[in-house]
């Protein structure tokens, strides 16, 4: 039984490099292909296909990856914490209410300086809210979320292909800096199907490789070394301050090295649109429509929401007549945009709430009303 399943999966992947997939399914494939060691999750719409796809692909029979449906989001993130503590590449996924439940665990992972990957396929809130798409967890993802002074590396995919790519990038960055990374997607990217090119199978690291790569991990004491303890507890304040300074120094390093963004037609534009995730693509369509009316707008799409591309936004804003931030929330990223441009030009917000997706025409109208005609 086992070798047959193994062959089916790999032949499938090899002969079909370009495939049509939902963002959520694509994440499951990417996790296996990037050599993930363990996935721990709990069903919640609109991201349950991640766990469903992994259970259907049975990667424990092929790469040896562990997949477990936990009893709750809380348990799932603490399984991630345990796996990460032992040096394994582990991940979880959920949607907004479930991500709220995970915040304590995420804070522990950050405080214990562990690598881990968390996917949030955002839905509208607050509370149980709606299952339709939203970007209302921007603050939660980029400003902390859980308790204490920490940051997550936050990657914002705008296509199914980026859902795949950011699984690899997220693991790489989280291991490089020993800090958790989050893919902050929305229901659109999670549920949409697009063409996707899957990466070649990256072998999972062997236990020996993990011991070498992660000398801090709780892999079993193994003779020569002293015991490893993974903890975020330090009651001696002077030592706790040192730990905090170390974390902050690492965050500055990440800001210097890992800020990512995309620009579309920024140079010749009179107006700048700032939008992230799938909304940036709706804005791209709006940009084409605006051009037909003689309005020249460019787009800057932050790819890392933290670290936020503040210098790029500041540079792109130079000489522009105004900025429109388009978000599926009541105005969250706009605060970072305003900080970046120091109020040197008008910065306006256009957002839809509660799971409504704005159409390209709405965005053109908002651009005209808020920035060109200055209708309050």
């Amino acid at each position: 039984m086992l070798p047959i399943i193994k062959n089916i999966y790999f032949i499938h992947i090899m002969k079909e490099e370009v495939r049509l997939m939902k963002g959520n399914e694509a994440v499951a494939h990417a996790a296996i292909l990037y050599g993930c060691d363990g996935y721990f999750g709990y069903p919640i719409t609109p991201q349950s296909e991640v766990l469903e796809t992994l259970e259907a692909l049975m990667p424990w029979e092929t790469t040896g990856m562990v997949v477990l449906q936990a009893e709750s989001e809380v348990a799932a993130i603490n399984m991630v914490y345990g796996g990460a503590a032992s040096g394994k590449a582990v991940m979880t996924s959920s949607s907004s209410p479930g991500i709220s439940l995970k915040q304590e665990g995420i804070s522990y992972i950050a405080g214990s300086e562990l690598p881990a990957l968390i996917l949030n396929v955002m839905r509208g809130g607050p509370g149980l809210g709606t299952i339709q798409p939203s970007q209302a967890d921007y603050f939660q993802a980029t400003k902390g979320g859980g308790h204490g002074d920490y940051r997550l590396i936050v990657l914002s995919p705008s296509s199914v292909q980026e859902m795949v790519d950011f699984v690899g990038l997220g693991f790489d960055l989280s291991f490089k800096y020993r800090t958790p990374a989050m893919i902050l997607a929305d229901g659109i990217v999670g549920q949409m199907m697009e063409k996707v090119v899957l990466p070649p199978q990256r072998p999972r690291r062997t236990d020996e490789e993990i011991r070498r790569q992660c000398p801090w991990a709780t892999t079993g004491r193994n003779g020569e070394r002293k015991r490893n303890v993974v903890t975020s507890l330090e009651l001696e304040s002077s030592r706790m301050e040192i730990i905090n300074h170390r974390l902050q120094a690492r965050y500055r390093e990440i800001e210097r090295n890992e800020t990512r963004w995309e620009e579309i037609g920024v140079e010749d534009a009179d107006y700048l649109i700032v939008a992230f995730g799938s909304i940036a693509r709706i804005c791209a369509k709006a940009m084409e429509m605006a051009e037909e009316k003689g309005i020249k707008a460019g787009i800057i799409r932050p790819i890392t929401l933290w670290p936020f591309p503040k210098e790029a936004v500041e540079k792109a804003a130079r000489g522009k007549k105004g900025i429109l931030c388009v978000e599926l929330n009541a105005g969250q990223m706009i605060e970072d945009v305003r900080l970046a441009v120091h109020d040197s030009l008008p910065v306006e917000h256009y957002g839809r709430l509660g799971g409504i997706i704005p159409s390209p025409q709405e965005i053109v109208d908002a651009l005209e009303e808020k920035l060109i005609n200055n209708i309050p």
């Binding site: 363990g38 009893e71 709750s72 348990a75 914490y81 032992s86 892999t219």
Partner: protein, 253 residues
């Protein structure tokens, strides 16, 4: 006998377990934790598992267990030790993973994690120290606090109408198909210490043999929290705790 003779190897009748660190413990004099730590250190060493054992410490008095027993440790969030242990065990199946939890961790905030890890039959050992009180935070009511027992949050004694009943979490765990061995012991007499050591050893053997989840509850004293002397605490435990939490195996497959 001169002191030089006493410390000769051939005259030695007792020594500190090799895996127990030579440091002052933060536990109060009379506390049961120190004895349980010693037993764990002895069992792990005697079974030759020091290099492949990973412990998960709780939030509660035993939060610093990682400072005392010389194996790898992960410090879990309050109540989440069984979830952490699940991943450690599944991702490193050749290692032996144990949790060390108090009554609040196991039976209040972490009830879901305890029950579901045991119900999945994770190949882990759960060491459960039940002293019927929250020691670390200053003696508040625990889920296992007895009816009538005075604590900082039940100053006139626990009342069923206000606080509900003492929770017999171990009995619940014994009913789950995922557990292979569930026992309730104590460490208040030399005989009970020896017996408990055998139980911990059996639990570790089960984990090695991938038989499922083993739970060793140790009915314990907290003389500081109970506001009694250590001797009085032992007597009070025998008189009151053992009635509600009788010692012995609840399940042994």
């Amino acid at each position: 006998m001169e002191i030089e003779d006493i410390i000769k190897e051939e005259n030695k009748v007792y020594s500190k377990p090799r895996l127990l660190d030579d440091v002052h413990m933060h536990y109060c004099p009379g506390c049961s934790h120190g004895v349980v730590h010693k037993l764990l250190a002895e069992v792990i060493d005697e079974m030759g598992l020091a290099e492949r054992t990973v412990g998960v410490s709780p939030v509660g008095c035993a939060v610093f267990a990682y400072n005392y027993i010389d194996v790898d440790w992960v410090e879990a969030a309050h109540g989440r030790a069984p979830a952490v242990a699940t991943a450690l065990s599944r991702l490193w199946p050749s290692n032996v993973v144990f949790t060390y939890q108090g009554d609040g961790d196991m039976a209040a905030i972490g009830t879901a994690e305890s029950i579901h890890a045991a119900n999945r039959g994770e190949n882990i050992v759960m060491i459960f120290v039940n002293n019927a009180i929250y020691g670390m935070t200053g003696g508040q009511m625990a889920p296992t606090t007895l009816i009538g027992q005075k604590t900082a949050t039940t100053p006139y004694g626990r009342r069923v109408d206000l606080n509900g009943h003492p929770l017999e979490i171990t009995d619940i765990l014994a009913r789950l198909d995922g557990t292979c061995y569930v026992t309730r012991q104590s460490v208040h007499t030399p005989a009970s210490v020896r017996k408990t050591k055998g139980c911990i050893k059996k639990a570790f053997e089960n984990a090695l043999a991938k038989k499922g989840t083993s739970v060793v509850e140790i009915v314990s004293t907290c003389n500081s929290g109970w506001k009694m002397s250590p001797v009085e605490s032992n007597e009070w435990m025998e008189r009151n705790m053992f009635e509600k939490y009788p010692l012995g195996d609840l399940k042994n497959i």
